[in-house]
Amino acid sequence: MRAPSILIVHPDHKTQRTVQRVLGATGYRIDVADDLGQGVRLLAHLEPVLVVVDGSAMSSPSVKQFFTVAKARGAESCMTLVGAAQLEQMSRILGLGAVTNLLVHPMPVLGEELTITAQKLLRSDLFGAEKYLLWGTKLNATTLTQASQRSQLVGELAEQVRGRGQSARVASMAMLVTDELLSNAVHNAPIDAAGRRYRAELARDGELALDVRHQVALRWGCDGRYLAIEVTDLFGSLDRATILRALVQNDVKTSGSGAGMGIALTYRSCDHLVFNLAPGKRTEVIALIDVRFPHSERVPASSYNVFVERS
């Protein structure tokens, strides 16, 4: 039996070396394949904790087989890198429903995102927006104790974001993200022993007192690179399959109290959406909005991660 490792599948040797250097810092042994076929052959002899696949491989017919084999060999998670050249692959990648961590960046590799994702997976230390922000960044914390506080909190957050010199566009994205995440946490997260979401059909504009179990925590902060918005509920009822389906949702539900578009709109309104799931205990969602570059210089697609705490 070989030592746990990380397997990289990427056709470009220069990028292979960059990813190798970034992930080599984790201390794990790194194995490299040029394509999925070679990756499958290597997997017969490996037990990778993590596989990292280039976005260009997603159009290969053997991609599903590769994921199946990787999972069978114990790979905890699949991370896919999407560069500007592969953006047309986005809908296919999302449609696969198998990619739990997608990193999008104009360069082939963004070291910091790759490192954070890998370290979270390898250490199983998932929670907290701090991991995405520079040291010393202050996070403002509020607890939602009444459902009706949502609109007030959203308005206040937007004002404070504007007050700190961010653009109206960033404030507008922050409003949408915060509103949807709070609404999901208040109405969709609560679940009873029978698995019934007993608040999902309550009117969103109705008043609802939130006891300790139902309270929702909101934290946000900005380090000059990212505006991070973190929302946490204490139910942990959101699961990986639901998230992967919701990310590609394009149709609004015509009936019911919710519109069924909250996660999709949140994903499309931020640059990086992170789900940290502790089943039955808590769900933490972190939306990162890049505040560094003009919008026209960013990649017109977003990254996401779905992390699940090991039991």
Partner: protein, 159 residues
Amino acid sequence: MPETRGRLSIEPQGDVLVIKGAIDESAGLSALLERAQDRRLVLDLGGVTFINSLGVRDWIRMQAGAQRAGIAIELRKVVEPLIHQLNMIIATRGAARVTSFFAPYACDGCGREDSLLIDAVAHAQGLAKLEPPAMTCAECGAQMEFNDFPERYFSFLSV
């Protein structure tokens, strides 16, 4: 006096309904169709600050209701948060006609960012070719650059 619904205010100004605030679960936009004159409803959306997923659903219902009732909707001064929804969710476009809208511009010279109003009728030819109109920076007078991807931002015009 403007009528208030949740965080939304609606005020008639001539034959135009001026909408301000947040379009959310309390908006009840379909009721606006009753205010159509000669099967025509003109909405000034320059004061809309925010729309969430329930607001999007309400908006789609209003558009569908207008199509059923044969009401032509004209949208003026459509703000960026609404443009994003029109681009992301095709059903939000309905059969409405956008005659003016806000778009993001940035100045390379001084770094100023603005949301500037574009007359979609006057600039229809250029917009069809995904060419945003030239704009001047209010701060330094330099020419501003369109601050998004034209093929994405103007996709709502290609209904």
